[in-house]
Amino acid sequence: MELASMPERPGPIVTPETAEYWAAGHRGVLLIGSCEICGHIFFPPRAVCPRCWESGAGCTASGGRGSVYAFSVVHQNRNPGFRDNLPYVVALVELEEGVQLMTNLVDCDPNEVRVAMPVGVVFQPLDDKVSIPLFRPVTP
């Protein structure tokens, strides 16, 4: 699957709580949740820390590298944006910071994907404000 090969995919609904995350993607930065009170690193980012429950949890930049934790090659999806791009790879990627996120793997043959394969982030712009993180194989 080529990068930017799914231009019709649905963009995320951006809320005040998540706007910073999507805007950072547009600058080529992958943010992960980081609590300024207790130091917990988490994903997805949110305003209340899921460890100490204090409000005002922030974000920090991830190095953007990790490995495939689990994946599935999707062969059926009738929704616009996906139905003309089958098969594609859905994956949980575990970042080096220790948290997982959902993504697509791109620039690779779906038949070649393996659990534990090293991957790095790339960004696909969806409009003039939002870019989404995707991952592609990298050399370890």
């Binding site: 609904i13 951006v14 809320t15 998540t18 899921p50 689990a70 599935s72 059926q76 594609y88 949980l92």
Partner: protein, 392 residues
Amino acid sequence: MSHKGPASEEAMIVGAFEHPLRVAPQHSALRFSAECAKAALDDAGLRPEDVDGLCVTGDSMAPVYVAEYLNLSPSWIESSGIGGPSPLLHVLHARDAVRAGTARVVVITYGSTARSSAAAFGTTGRPQTTDPMGVDDFNAFDAPYGVVLAAQYAMVANRHMHEFGTTHEQLAAIAVACRSHAALNTNALYRDPITVDDVLASRPIASPLHLLDCCVISDGGGAVVVAHPDVAADCRTKPVAVLGGGQALAHGEAGRRSIIHVGAEQSGPRALTEAGIGTDDVDFCMLYDSFTITVLSTLEGLGFCKIGDGGSFVEGGRLQLGGDLPINLDGGALSSNHPGRRGIFLLVEATRQLRNECGSRQVPNARIGLCHGTGGFLSGRHSATTVILGAS
């Protein structure tokens, strides 16, 4: 270990009914719910005027609509929605209400036109919403990626294969077992026997899951009646006791989830402890089989085998009638029916098995049946409810 048996004041399941239709474009969901409620009451020998409690899942206002359709005025209502297991949760709540004296006869009913409405549960994602009361904000982190429901379950299978060497052939044994039981159920949607090779040869949906690893989509409905033991004593059916229950939620754990661990690991032991039994005491299981991997993970989580041993556990006919632990005697969602919220059918079949009225698919001498429902996404946020039923 022998179970302690129901206390004399415990609520009983006195009526059960599963709608025979699987494809019914002329039916509404309300009609399914209404017909099932009536038939479950008829089964018990009760009348509409006996009913004071109503549970319906689906829309959060569903009980109001079903009550209006039937011109019923219940004094105890329940509409909890946690996906597929909701009717199992309703049984536990109805039991508690009967125990507390706030209800005496509770109807739990469900109806859906999933098939005729062309609902593609497994191959669409959960929609994002801008509902001001919505709780779906996190879906924005999945929505751009085409994470269909089947892929959410498939990733658990993928990870299980990676960690433990589990094979697709082993997962397929679960689909084969369910189909063998569907062959004995004249109402089941698919009844022709299948083999492991048939499952592997069916078209891929979301690897490693193929078509025959995925549940069917049907129309349909079902209902059970939970009643006070004084009421049960006058019913024409042999009452079935609610011996124990357990509830649990699972989720992404803020990005640190081990996806081979499922909610059944918490709800199962809670239910077994309450019932005062061990897994060896269970004669059969009714397990929500949205996908083959759901069953394998559930069996591990409930403690029937160790985490990671599920692949070898499900082989060799163990899950088929005549095996050590027959499951899904009606054919399950994999072969019989799945109009969503399949928890209701787990209860109906378990009740009928414990009343010894299932004919050619009857588990001999069935005394204890375990029902377990999984709702949501197995690899992420999901709900789990376990209900253990006993013959009287």
